[in-house]
Amino acid sequence: MENQSAIRRLLPYIYWLVGIFAIYFLLNYLISPFSSGISLNLKTVVARVKEIGTFLVGIGLGLGLIEAYFYQIFFRQPSNPTTRIIMRSLQVVLGALVLLTLFAFFEITDLYRLGDTFLATVIHIPLTLFGTIQKALLGAGVAKASAGLWSGLVLSLIIIIIYGVIHLISIPRHSRLGLAYLLVLPALIGVLFLIIYPFLFEIKLAFSNASLGTQATKNAQYGLIYGWNNLVTLFTGKVAKDARFFEVLGRTVLWTVINVTFHVGGGMALALLLHRPMKLQGFYRTLLIVPWAIPTTIAAMALRNEFDSRYGLFNILLTDLNHWLTSVSQGTVNIIGIGNLFSWLSAHIGPVSWKQDPFWAFVSILISNIWLGIPFMSVIILGGLQSISKEYYEAAEIDGASKWQQFVSITLPLLRPVLTPAIVLGVVWTFNKFDIIYLITQGGPQEKTDILVSSMYKAAFQFYRYGFTAMFALVIFVILFLFTLFYLRITNGLKSVSE
């Protein structure tokens, strides 16, 4: 009986395995006649799986060890004064090692340089320890190919043994908050390492003359004077090639305001149209969120294609419109007002050069981004509309309120908890969103469609002005931060958030 239930329990996994193998062989069978033309092969796949697997094991092990450390701090206490000394000293040593590793990491990534000082030797203790284990392992001939991995495992084994010792000499303890902190810790570590640390690093970089000439941070000089120079260049000099800061800032504000206005307006219109009992509602909704569902890169590249001066959709339509207007104006040439009107229209409406004319290039990226952004906003607003109770409208209708009055005094105020964060995030995202620009116009012609962030990207990765870029980035951050504070102050948007 026991045996049978074990098989039954394993059955789903067996099905999965069989399914995966079946798909694999089927694909293999289908693709094998063409496999000479495909550059992906099994070797690449296995190598990648191994690489990522090792990485995940390492991350998991590291996080697990840190969690275990804090678990013991929160949930174990020494049983008597003697063990207290042993336990605390072991924990201090471990904590010191972790801190030293952290400092060593900062040094490797060039946050600061210590050279050959005594401090450097101290900080390098964990690394030396690691190196020693690695050498010992290599010397014993245990692990040749992946000595780093194996010595990491050995090191964690030692740490686990220490944890075991601490566990044996301690007794459990109740902690009310310990669990919460343990749960928050992994995400906190991630955010600290990959968001806060780079941010601090950027501040440091902003006060340097790092560039391609200094081999990034290798030979860079740091000092307030460099920061000042960067700031002066930013406001008075050229930010990328020709563009100047305030010109680009103005364009960025225009870009953000136009985009967000159209996103919110268009989204609101579509949401109001959709928010009623009617046939085909789900069908329309599905079609309307198509621009959001298309991967951005594909959408941007496809739109870039459509802005081609001869074969793109927009100019084809405009050419047709022009022909139509011309024919109408020829037909109505005798009717005084209309004939003149149409000939004027046909002279002014026609295909435009989306790529060469800075104005139309800017319009083209605006059209693209508005098209891409409306669905998201309409989905958000539609969700907000659905959460408003119908009773308000019924009461208003009984009191004789018009549709417009209902919209202004019921819908808008009740939509505010949805709209405020959506608009703030929308502004911040649009302000920073330059993949559309980069993919469609690449900032051209003559950097006339660049916004701040795309100029910054160019300064960093086309002109390699690293220190300058860092200062540029800080200025952008300050602008956004002030905007958000200001907006939240006037709308009181964080009131609901903090509870």
């Binding site: 990648r48 991630g190 298309i294 991967p295 590249m301 294609n305 911040v428 860092a470």
Partner: protein, 305 residues
């Protein structure tokens, strides 16, 4: 019609029925609304359909001013070349390689960020601890740091760690960026699950771990699915970070890959479109299929705050 008693004239009757109704929308209004929605739908869908059209065009008529959706002499040659290379031009296809690169990087990053976010969102939702509010505000503030801004220090960091041009470098660059927002979304969703459920289970002797995995996670499947989808979609079509981190052709993710079609000496729009269709269709089906969840999850997160 109940109103017809006072006015027997059929035309007036029809007009009244057509333009005016005490309750609900009149047919006239309904027609207007449907017309507006149809126009909006066409605007939303037609540019996307054009990509399909271009992918079906034979190579000699790629450049036309034709606006039909199914082109003349439609052919699948572009798809064949994208998928399996072309022996005549002695060119192999990198399509599957790009897909594999993207898939391996993005699925790992989404899983990492989901796990990190779900665990700490649970703590933020269920425990009152010193630093909770500060932590939440802090997470929101990190969203104000433009992604493009952290790119440069991340790039230098990865270069120092010799991780440029590796999948791991890209994984590291992607993995945390979506965590703060995901924590917010999930926390908002967890808040809507009654605490009573957990307390009952805890009294019955279940551990916190059991409560989390057996009660909270199953109940928040929609929110988890959305959060996963968001972080997956975010990384899946990301171009600018990948452009900086990956430089070798064999490491390219698909956004970098299909961009090479546009950079070749002769722009291969046909192949670009075919590759786009092949990549976009599965993602779009997934996205549109889950759109119902998407709406509920997004608004729950933001309304509850």
């Amino acid at each position: 019609m109940s109103t017809s008693k006072s006015n027997p004239n059929p035309i007036t009757k029809f007009l009244r029925w057509f333009f005016y109704r005490a309750r609900g929308d009149s047919p006239f209004k309904t027609i207007l609304i449907h017309a507006a929605l149809i126009i909006a739908s066409v605007i939303a869908v037609y540019p996307a359909l054009r990509v399909v059209t271009i992918s079906l065009r034979p190579n000699d008529t790629l450049l036309t001013t034709d606006l039909r959706i199914i082109p003349e002499n439609a052919t699948l040659d572009n798809y064949k070349e994208v998928l399996f290379g072309s022996p005549e031009k002695n060119r192999t296809s990198d399509f599957f390689l790009w897909l594999w690169n993207s898939l391996s990087v993005v699925s790992v990053t989404s899983i990492i960020s989901m796990i990190l976010a779900a665990i700490s969102a649970y703590a933020f939702s269920r425990f009152k601890f010193p630093g909770r509010t500060a932590g939440l505000i802090f997470l929101l503030t990190t969203q104000m740091i433009p992604a493009g801004m952290l790119l440069l220090p991340l790039f230098i960091m990865l270069a120092q760690l010799k991780m440029i041009n590796t999948a791991l470098g890209l994984i590291i660059a992607y993995s945390v960026s979506s965590v703060p927002l995901t924590i917010w979304t999930l926390k908002g969703y967890f808040d809507t699950i009654p605490v009573d459920l957990e307390e009952a289970a805890l009294i019955d002797g279940a551990s916190r771990f059991t409560v989390f995995t057996q009660i909270i996670l199953p109940l928040s499947t929609p929110a988890l699915a959305i959060a996963f989808l968001f972080s997956f979609m975010g990384g899946w079509s990301e171009y600018l970070v990948a452009r900086v981190v990956l430089q070798k052709n064999e490491m390219f993710t698909w956004p970098l890959g299909i961009f090479t079609y546009a950079q070749q000496f002769t722009v291969s729009w046909g192949q670009f479109s075919a590759a786009s269709v092949l990549i976009a269709i599965p993602v779009m089906i997934l996205f549109l299929y889950s759109s119902k969840w998407l709406i509920s999850g997004l608004t729950l997160g933001s309304v509850k705050g």
